[in-house]
């Protein structure tokens, strides 16, 4: 547990970086500091490992004032990941990861064995052990940065915008990796970002920092989206918070239609019967393994020879699907909005179609959770 008690940082030039922060970071959870540039997130984070000394107030780790400990020893017990990864250019990946174990006097072979273990847990190939940082992509460097911070198995992990310098696809991958690791390791993670989406994805609790180093709101992601305390927080979250909030509702309660699924061996005549019975303008064609092939609409079917097999038609692309078990209402809504048929395709983890849901049905479902 990390406790900030009236922790403040005033610089001699008059800048108030942090204006008296009172906040408790729960153990084993991920707490995110989010806020605009200059709102004191980094400064607050660095008070924990004494990289910044508060000008007033205290920071306690497990009830003990950080100032009562030798800084170097304190820091070795707290993992630290920074934005540019900060890897030593003259050390191999393996030796970078082994840095803190070596400082702690573990001995080279044990430190390297530990490094190898961590490379696996953060998703790096063993063949990359002897590479140098400049031979890695930005995303891989960040993985090394995370592995290095975890090397001595510290209970606390401080991460300052660790994923902000990589492209969105890589960033999502790194976030997934962190979520997976955290589910396994249950560290006390303090994560700084200025990306509210990242905060919502990663955080169990989110602290929104406002201008002037003030804490504006400290809440769960869901509460933050449903009940922003003031205009500042609301505008910081963005006006599409209603849609974002759907990310907290699972898609598995949606009523999926199976009556508009057609086999690619079916004839046009059969298809017309099906859509007429269902009263739906679109039907989804699937193959023998129930993998989606594409949409076909009523108007189109009426112009085709009735004996033709559906597999011979050029179908309308089905766009992207959502995983019924794992995705949220937000993903389902997104799939429906992007679909040319105005309908989203729900699949199982293997990609087999379970059913489809229309925008109208989604609207009802969203209405019922709001």
């Amino acid at each position: 547990m990390i406790t900030f008690e009236g922790a403040a940082k005033h610089y001699p030039d008059g800048t108030v970086a942090v204006a008296g922060l009172d906040l408790t970071v729960e153990s084993g959870r991920t707490t995110v500091f989010v806020g605009p540039s200059g709102s004191g997130k980094t400064t607050s984070l660095r008070m924990v490992n004494r990289m910044v000394a508060p000008t007033s107030g205290t920071v306690l780790v497990d009830g003990e004032d950080v100032r009562s400990q030798d800084p170097a020893r304190l820091r070795r017990s707290i993992g630290y990941v920074i934005q540019q990864a900060g890897l030593f250019p003259h050390r191999t990946v393996r030796d970078n990861i082994a840095t803190v174990p070596l400082l702690l006097g573990w001995g080279r072979s044990r430190a390297r064995a530990r490094a190898a273990e961590l490379m696996e847990s953060v998703g790096l190939e063993p063949s990359q052990a002897k590479r140098y940082p400049h031979q890695l992509s930005g995303g891989q460097q960040q993985r090394v940065g995370v592995a290095r911070a975890l090397a001595a198995d510290p209970p606390i992990l401080l991460m300052d915008e660790p994923f902000s310098a990589v492209d969105p696809v890589v960033r999502t991958g790194l976030q997934d990796e962190l979520l997976r690791l955290q589910a396994e390791l249950r560290k006390t993670v303090l994560f700084v970002t200025h990306d509210i989406d990242e905060a919502i994805r990663i955080g169990d609790r989110i602290a929104v920092f406002g201008p002037g180093g003030e804490l504006a709101q400290y809440d769960t992601p869901e509460r933050l989206l449903t009940h922003p305390v003031d205009d500042f927080v609301e505008s910081f979250i963005g006006y599409d918070r209603g849609v974002r909030r759907l990310a907290f509702f699972p898609a598995n309660e949606l009523a999926l239609r199976e009556d508009v699924l057609l086999d690619d061996q079916d004839t046009v005549e059969r298809a017309l019967n099906t859509v007429d019975t269902a009263g739906q303008p679109w039907a989804l064609v699937v193959d023998a393994q129930r993998m989606p092939l594409g949409w076909v609409d009523v108007d189109r079917l009426r112009h085709e020879p009735s004996g033709l097999e559906l597999g011979r038609l050029t179908l309308t692309a089905y766009g992207h699907t959502f995983d019924v078990e794992r995705d949220s209402l937000r993903a389902a809504l997104d799939a429906a909005v992007l679909s040319p048929a105005g309908r989203a395709v729900g699949v199982d983890p293997d990609g087999r179609v379970l059913g489809v849901v229309s925008q109208a049905d989604l609207g009802n479902a969203i209405w019922s959770v709001s």
């Binding site: 920074i82 003259h90 400082l103």
Partner: protein, 226 residues
């Protein structure tokens, strides 16, 4: 053509290759003074440069001192010290050290200063103490620049060690001094060629040294110009 023939004759004269005034003996003396001068310079300049670079203190003093020392005419320094301590090897070494310290000192200082702040931040944040930051980060990252400074110093020292001859302690400078006194152009050119040869060998030696000492990760970085 005449000069060339005489030079060949000078170099191939068997008498030239033995005895205390022969080329091997003179070269050995020359190398010995150069090495001693360089070694003392490195022992002084590298630690001081590491310290000023690491602490960020004395950066201005270092640069000023180096600039001042660079402006000194080495031969002037030599005679000044001879006046103070008398003839012998010591004034030669002191003059060479005065010559070699600036490039090594400035490069070491700069090598440490150029370490990215984010790297130092990471090092401290991981719990390295000042000494550990210096030994595990700043020194290894500064090595390429330090070697560069040493190479510059070494070439200057090898070229300048000829001044030893002015105070009667030998070295390849003897050929130049004696040649001048006897109006023997061949001898002067021969001696100069030997000095040039040593300087080239020195450069090559340092190229090899940097291959050996610079971490592969840094070498590739330097190659890509980052």
């Amino acid at each position: 053509m005449d000069v060339l023939n005489e030079l060949v004759a000078w170099f191939t004269d068997p008498g030239q290759w033995s005895g205390p005034a022969g080329i091997p003996a003179r070269t050995a003396e020359h190398l010995q003074y150069s090495l001693l001068g360089l070694l003392i310079s490195a022992l002084v300049a590298v630690p001081v440069g590491l310290l000023t670079g690491h602490t960020g203190l004395g950066g201005f003093a270092t640069a000023s001192l180096a600039n001042f020392a660079r402006a000194l005419p080495t031969i002037g320094v030599l005679f000044l010290i001879v006046l103070l301590v008398g003839i012998g090897l010591m004034p030669v070494i002191i003059a060479l050290v005065a010559l070699a310290v600036p490039p090594i000192l400035v490069n070491t200082h700069e090598g440490v200063r150029q370490v990215e702040p984010a790297l130092k931040d990471a090092a401290l944040g991981m719990g390295m103490r000042g000494r550990e930051v210096l030994m595990h980060l700043e020194l290894p990252v500064a090595v390429p620049l330090i070697i560069n400074g040493m190479r510059t110093a070494a070439v200057q020292v090898v070229a300048t060690a000829t001044i030893a001859a002015y105070v009667g302690v030998g070295g390849l400078g003897r050929y130049i001094v004696d040649g001048q006194a006897r109006q023997d152009l061949t001898m002067m050119v021969g001696g100069s060629l030997l000095v040039v040869f040593l300087a080239v060998v020195t450069t090559l030696l340092f190229a090899g040294l940097s291959r050996l000492l610079v971490a592969p990760g840094l070498r590739a970085l330097a190659a890509t110009g980052r």
